[in-house]
């Protein structure tokens, strides 16, 4: 398992005639996804728009997105990995028993019909959300789906794409990958990047109490992270840069109000297909941008090298 067979949303709009949403609820969470890319658009190779596309939703409950789908498959909670593995077996005509399928909450007949439709498609795409990647199994569930998409290419064109979260989370991953070679969970304390999720990832560092200071830019861990991580943020000096006063601001020592990116501050936002989009501010703000605050802090520290000298783990590369 490994790698991702993917494409841009422009290709989805122009070519994808078979669309699967797995563990995601775009009707609520990505309300423009249907209208801009996957369902409603009439495009070069799909001139009749919605009529030329087949949409399947896989989820543990019938969400608002189910109304927009042609087929809804209700998988039993925590059985996504099993279902994906069964689909991988079925596309290669391997034997799968009714009992194995029944455990997932679906029937062999339904899955065989799904596979027939997948193989008959000209261009299939699988979008997956937090319902797949944040339940038990996590990255292994996502890896199973990516492998299924890759293996489907033995029959027809198939790609996969994660339904990314709010703000510029894709941009954070892309820039870290470009700068360090890794997307997240990176430690620079030896002066070169090291990657180890579970060790250097934010929640783990906070829960173990490894950090004695926290600098938070444009995030609100005080309202999103587990309680032990929030408790540690309250213990150490925490600095927050955010356009709003958030739960994290309340437990921090310093809150600096910044201009909202894309509205009153320029920059680059990354779409969920990793295409960079320039952000032009429509309004003016009395507050500085995140970038300006970070740059001024860096310039101030550079003027005071004596602040950094007595720390044993500090090396020149970090300054």
């Amino acid at each position: 398992m490994g790698g991702k067979v993917t494409c841009t949303l422009g290709e989805v709009k122009n070519r994808a005639d078979f669309i699967v949403y797995w563990g995601g609820n775009p009707a609520e969470c990505h309300p423009r996804h249907f209208t801009k890319y996957t369902l409603m658009q009439k495009s070069k190779f799909l001139p009749r728009g919605r009529k030329d596309r087949t949409v399947v939703l896989v989820d543990i409950r019938e969400t608002k997105s189910a109304k927009a789908a042609d087929h809804f498959l209700q998988v039993r909670p925590g059985k996504d990995f099993e279902l994906l593995t069964i689909l991988r077996a079925l596309i290669k005509d391997q034997k799968v028993s009714e009992e194995q399928v029944a455990e997932t909450g679906l029937s062999l007949e339904v899955l065989k019909d799904l596979i027939e439709k997948m193989k008959a498609a000209k261009f299939g795409v699988m979008f997956f959300g937090m319902g797949l990647s944040m339940t038990r199994g996590k990255h292994m569930n996502a890896a199973a789906l990516l492998t299924l998409a890759a293996e489907m290419n033995a029959f027809t064109k198939f790609v996969a794409m994660p339904m990314r979260g709010h703000g510029n989370v894709t941009g954070a991953d892309v820039i870290m990958r470009w700068q360090t070679g890794y997307p997240f969970g990176i430690s620079l304390n030896r002066g070169y990047p090291r990657y180890n999720p579970g060790e250097f990832s934010t929640v783990d560092v906070l829960v173990r109490g490894d950090t004695d200071c926290a600098f938070i830019i444009g995030a609100d861990p005080g309202a999103t992270m587990p309680k032990p991580a929030i408790d540690h943020l309250a213990k150490v000096p925490t600095i927050v840069l955010d356009p709003h006063v958030t739960h994290t601001s309340r437990l921090s020592r310093v809150h600096i109000t910044t201009a909202p990116a894309g509205i009153a501050a320029p920059g680059t936002g990354y779409r969920m297909d990793e295409v960079p989009m320039p952000l032009k501010p429509a309004l003016q703000s009395p507050y500085p941008s995140d970038e300006e605050v970070v740059r001024r802090i860096r310039e101030t520290i550079a003027l005071r090298p004596d602040w950094m000298t007595n720390q044993p783990q500090m090396i020149e590369a970090q300054i």
Binding site: E28, I60, M134, P197, P226, H244
Partner: protein
């Protein structure tokens, strides 16, 4: 490795406790209110409204608008019940500060805490007040 705490000892074993699976989720209204302000009454109401199947409401012996205490092995928080067409045995609530109280800090080496599919004990608050 983070030590998992044992479930809090229930001091009154006769208390009606129903074991359900909690799945925090996102809604469009929640997303809008994140930007309006997390101190607003609407955001608080959204992040404390628990969607429950009618059979589970009956098992709990509560009606719409009743307060319940939800417990995991990591913490507890209060929510307001609302009947919804969710699958029986599963309950749903938008992510927010109350769900943070229930989430464990262990990421199983992945960097992400398990954010959905928690086994929880649900207790009507009316029983706690007795």
């Amino acid at each position: 490795m983070v030590q998992k705490r044992q479930l809090p000892i229930n001091e009154r074993p006769s208390m009606p406790t129903v074991r359900l699976m909690l799945n925090p989720m996102r809604t469009a209204k929640q997303g809008v209110n994140v930007n309006i302000g997390k101190d607003g009454d609407e955001y608080k109401q959204i992040t404390t409204t628990l969607l429950v199947h009618q059979d589970d409401m009956a098992a709990l012996g509560v009606e719409d608008g009743a307060a319940v205490l939800v417990r995991t092995e990591h913490g507890e928080a209060e929510f307001i019940c609302k009947t919804d067409k969710v699958p029986p045995g599963l309950i749903f609530v938008p992510y927010g500060p109350p769900t943070c109280q229930l989430m464990g800090g262990d990421t199983d080496g992945t960097g992400m805490p398990t954010s959905k599919g928690w086994d929880v004990d649900v207790i009507p608050c009316s029983e706690l007040d007795r």
